[in-house]
Symmetry: C2
Subunit: 304 residues, 2 copies
């Protein structure tokens, strides 16, 4: 049953063949996983509990990292909403195949909408920001949607040197703030997660606020709602949200310890290069390219 479309570590040792003839040993190719496994401790970072959301659903915990560098007003409001237990008892009310899942208050904007407590009803649009002040680890790879792509603080991002702007890119697992017709009509109460092919046309058209770093598979398998947009009008088909909490509001013993590989570390760059040009036994045609949305962002549970 091991026929599959991904690389199998074949451990073909060219070095051992050439050493038979007493030639110098070729440097052994390291796969992305081997590079990540060998990354030094300082290549890893720990999630900041004040910027981490725990979304509890029946299947388990979805862990989200917020992006205050890109959407400070939205992130502040999301913190207020989580602290006020706004989402508890609300639901995932949309799942559109190859696009997004969306959650919050299915009655938003109606008389029966849930109170948002002390959260702000209105925020500025935060579609992009100045790239000054960001540590932008650029990919050498070309991108059709933006002049330059790369990573900032663990998030996939883009920038335009001509305008000095930077923004987060709509890759799988990215979290955004739903809005209506007006650009400034989001306040972070209604959120969506990208669950399909990167809808990069949304970049700079909506405020992105973070990323799912763990538990994405709990959201991606939610049955799709009716076409075309996947909204569940029947309440019984929505997925209940038990709670969404800031990790800093959760007792330490109940927090999930997670570490993420720093996207400005040499190990991350090396692992990305190993994926850009795969030289293990399975691939016969290395791509010579990688898309910003195809770069995995490694997460691990630290050893005891």
């Amino acid at each position: 049953m091991r026929l599959h479309p991904v690389v199998i570590a074949c451990a073909i040792s060219l070095a051992s063949i050439s050493s038979f003839a007493a030639e110098p040993e070729a440097p052994k190719y390291k796969s992305a996983q081997e590079i990540i496994d060998a990354a030094p401790a300082d290549a890893w970072r720990t999630l900041d509990p004040a910027n981490t959301l725990y979304m509890e659903v029946e299947g388990g915990r979805v862990i989200i990292e917020l992006a205050p560098e890109f959407a400070p007003a939205h992130v502040a409001n999301i913190r207020t909403l989580a602290h006020g237990k706004f989402w508890d008892g609300l639901s995932i009310y949309r799942s559109q195949d190859n696009f997004v899942v969306q959650f919050g208050d299915p009655n938003a904007g109606e008389a029966t909408a849930k109170s948002q407590g002390t959260a702000k009803a209105k925020l500025p649009a935060e579609f992009a920001r100045k790239s000054d002040g960001l540590v932008f680890s650029a990919l050498p790879d070309k991108d059709g949607w933006a002049p330059q792509v790369g990573f900032v603080s663990g998030f996939p991002a883009a920038r335009d040197p001509a305008t000095g702007q930077a923004w987060l890119t709509h890759c799988y697992g990215m979290l955004g703030a739903g809005r209506g017709a007006e650009p400034d009509s989001s306040n972070g109460a209604e959120l969506y997660v990208v669950s399909g092919q990167s809808p990069r046309q949304l970049d700079r058209n909506i405020t992105t606020v973070g990323r799912v770093v763990s538990g994405m598979e709990l959201l991606s398998v939610i049955p799709r709602g009716p076409q075309p947009m996947g909204f569940y009008e029947k309440p019984e088909l929505r997925t209940p949200i038990k709670s969404i909490r800031l990790a800093s509001d959760v007792p330490e013993a109940e927090r999930t310890p997670l570490q993420l590989l720093r996207t400005d570390s040499p190990a991350f760059a090396d692992a990305t290069e190993a994926r850009r040009n795969r030289r293990d036994g399975w691939y016969v045609q290395p791509a010579g390219h990688i898309d910003v949305c195809n770069v995995p962002l490694p997460v691990r549970t630290p050893k005891e």
Copy 2:
């Protein structure tokens, strides 16, 4: 609840505003959907029953179009396997988040493997072909993975003018033939469907044989198997396949009538342009670009 990250048809009529001052009417912007809805009858094609698979699972029917132009030997073998009811009673035994679902015989390669009847055990690798003889509708958009991308007979594809080669691109819903370490180790019995961000690094490394044209949402929601690769070792967790049949082996009354928008039609080009540069009320920043894997391939049920 209508806060969401997709375009709402706002029907803002610039024409009606300007006509108030008796100016010439501006051509009305048509959305991709409006263009598709207005496409003439000859922009649509009907699936060829001899190149169509019906995969029956508990939730319904998944419809697959085969691509004999790109993988003639594999498609012929798949026809033989379907005609011989090879997949009936087998299963979807892998679901890896943001990558693929895979199906066939979980015991392939073992003593307990199911007989493949008169199908061939060994086929040539069909990773790419000569681009001569194909109607290639090229996109003007740049692509990081290939010199040129576009569509051939309804399939997303790429070509390299320097080598004269063309191949299918690994977009959402594409069907490929799983293989082991050897390039020619696939025979079409073990198949995978792309269910995540387009894994274009697989292009030209594996044989692609078709595309899911309907029912993808039945595959994309299958619970993910254990990490890292999503194979279900426990048989009870696999998704049973009731049957896979060539549509031409199914009585006409049981066939699903479907039409697909021709990818070489003006309507398809116009709809793609409407998505490349969205000019409705919701978008504030048209992308000016579209990725070959972000172009929807419209399917409809013909009217009575």
